[in-house]
Amino acid sequence: MSEQVYRRAVMLSEEALLSNLEELRKLYGNSVTFAIPETLTARYEDKVASVVGSEAIDVDGLPFAELLGVGEIGGLHSAVWLRSHVLGIRDAAAGEGISYGATHILEHDSQIALAPVGFADGIDRKLSGSLSVLVEGHSLPVLGRIAMDSISFDVTDLTVTKIGTTVDIFRSESGFGFDRASQILGTTTAELAIRLSERAEVILCR
């Protein structure tokens, strides 16, 4: 069965939520609860409740970011990341630039893929030049400036990449999760993860 293709989706891992819940119960007891901020309840509450139970959600609880594994408590798993797909692949020649201001110049003739997500999705523009994304198990550097609605990366060496291939952003397996991003930006992992594309649907996945 082919994988569902998303233009942009905030992936919410059921497995990570359950493992975080278990760890946090060890630390805070079985009645530990989590507070989903008002600005996020509509997007998250039902989905999270379907995994951890509605009794685990309460306004007086621990910050929601802890359950997502992106708060201040160590040893948890990041339960969210952004998913998109390859929207186009093009040939580009050595010496040509990528994106605005041509801050990246290609050293070789390359195949450049574009994914339709950008700083409007919480991929902070200041991560231009450092961000890597996960494509078919490979961590690929994003080339040039992150635009409002697109990022580009080199897929020359990935022979099976095509339109529709999944692109994961801020997924810990890429080696560029929220921890790396927050170090570069001087912010918290919670802020980046919680404010991940608010125009994207939240998709619960196994």
């Binding site: 293709v5 233009r7 901020p37 008002e38 600005t39 996020l40 509509a42 910050p63 797909h85 929207l87 186009g88 093009r90 040939d91 580009a92 040509e96 630039g97 990528i98 994106s99 605005y100 201001g101 041509a102 450049i112 574009l114 339709p116 700083f119 409007a120 919480g122 902070d124 523009r125 200041k126 635009a147 409002m148 609605d149 697109s150 580009s152 339109i163 529709g164 930006l185 001087g186 912010t187 918290t188 919670a190 802020e191 919680i194 404010r195 608010e198 125009r199």
Partner: protein
């Protein structure tokens, strides 16, 4: 709600008028993607059309269809350009959505759907001039134009425009892009035997360089009152920032004589990036307060007057209440005002004023 984004309709109209007059007789396509740069796509689209704007740039098919549902006048062009075979374009033709196309696969997709629905689709053929994003390379342009011509003859589509998106690397590079674009335009117009609408400039080039106007320019940031290039302010450009982000004072503590720490009901959950701390100021009763820290739902600022709990706090806006502009915020944190605006949480009410 503890934070409101006021959308100043008069400012939007002013900017549209100013920028349109500046580029006339070229038309101004108003870019309303990313929820109208966070301002509320449908509201700003309606205002723009009532102000005489005839072209709206939407990026995605879904956005274009939403815009079309409120802008039913077919003489207003609604353009989407970021799509692939995973996008449903079956409603595009009958809803008079125009598509920007930059590769053969997209043309084939259009041909197939037009045949199935019986509705031809109007297209803008896109040349790449250095962004390496989604346009046709110049070396393949003639072949691309020939294929589009063939599909037009079959009744699948109608070519209405040629366009590109310049990389803004330098004026010199942009001049090369313009020269290539003019050649590409000539090739297309000769093939189709008629004049096509040509557009290449976005906010920056359209404002600074009249030779980039052609038949139409595309403006997003400037229309929202956010200058896109260095060395200028909204005021100097003559545009008015459209969004004013307003919150209120939650708590006040006198930390030392004449120094007050203020807690404001706006935080990163609403869209105030935490790294503005120490870099920007907000205004309360016309006095500036420096942001010290941004929490999830609140922020802490310090100043030398005592605010009243419940008083309005101006985070950024059009300077009327002593606040900074979003462009100044962007400069302070090394990004574009556009990024800050389009990241204001959807949970924050956009209120037309």
């Amino acid at each position: 709600m503890s934070v409101i984004a006021r959308i100043n309709e008069a400012a939007l109209r002013h900017n549209l008028r100013l920028l349109s007059e500046r580029v006339a007789p070229a038309r101004l396509m108003f870019i309303v993607k990313a929820n109208g740069y966070g301002h509320g796509c449908l509201d700003v689209s309606k205002i723009a059309v009532s102000q005489g704007i005839t072209d709206l740039g939407c990026l995605e098919i879904t956005t274009a269809l939403e815009v079309r549902s409120v802008i039913t006048d077919d003489s207003v062009n609604v353009l989407a350009w970021q799509f692939d075979q995973f996008d449903d374009i079956s409603k595009v033709g009958e809803n008079h959505i125009q598509l920007g196309v930059g590769n053969f696969v997209q043309l084939e997709q259009i041909a197939k759907i037009a045949k199935a629905t019986g509705h031809p689709i109007s297209v803008h053929l896109k040349l790449d001039t250095g962004l390496n994003r989604n346009g046709m390379r110049f070396s393949d342009w003639s072949r691309f134009v020939d294929f589009a011509y063939e599909l037009e003859t079959l009744g699948a589509l109608k070519v209405v425009a040629v366009w590109t998106h310049i990389a803004e690397t330098s004026d010199e590079h942009d001049d090369i892009a313009r020269s290539d674009f003019e050649k590409a335009r000539t090739i297309a117009e000769e093939k189709f035997g008629r004049k096509l609408t040509a557009h290449m400039a976005a906010s920056s080039a359209s404002f600074r360089r009249s030779e980039f106007h052609q038949d139409m320019i595309r403006n997003g940031g400037h229309v929202y009152g956010i200058p896109s290039f260095d060395g200028t302010s909204s005021r100097e450009m003559g545009v008015i920032p459209v969004m004013t982000l307003v919150s209120s004072v939650l708590e006040v503590t006198e930390i030392s004589e004449g120094n007050f720490e203020v807690t404001v009901s706006a935080g990163y959950l609403h869209g105030v990036p935490s790294y503005v701390a120490g870099k920007v100021e907000i205004a309360i009763a016309g006095q500036r307060f420096e942001i010290l820290k941004v929490n999830a739902g609140t922020l802490i600022a310090v100043g030398s007057t005592r605010p009243i709990v419940g008083e309005e706090v101006y985070l950024f806006g059009d300077e009327t209440n002593g606040e900074q502009t979003v462009r100044e915020w962007g400069d302070a944190i090394g990004t574009l005002g556009d990024e800050i605006c389009c990241r204001i949480s959807p949970a924050v009410e956009r209120r037309l004023v």
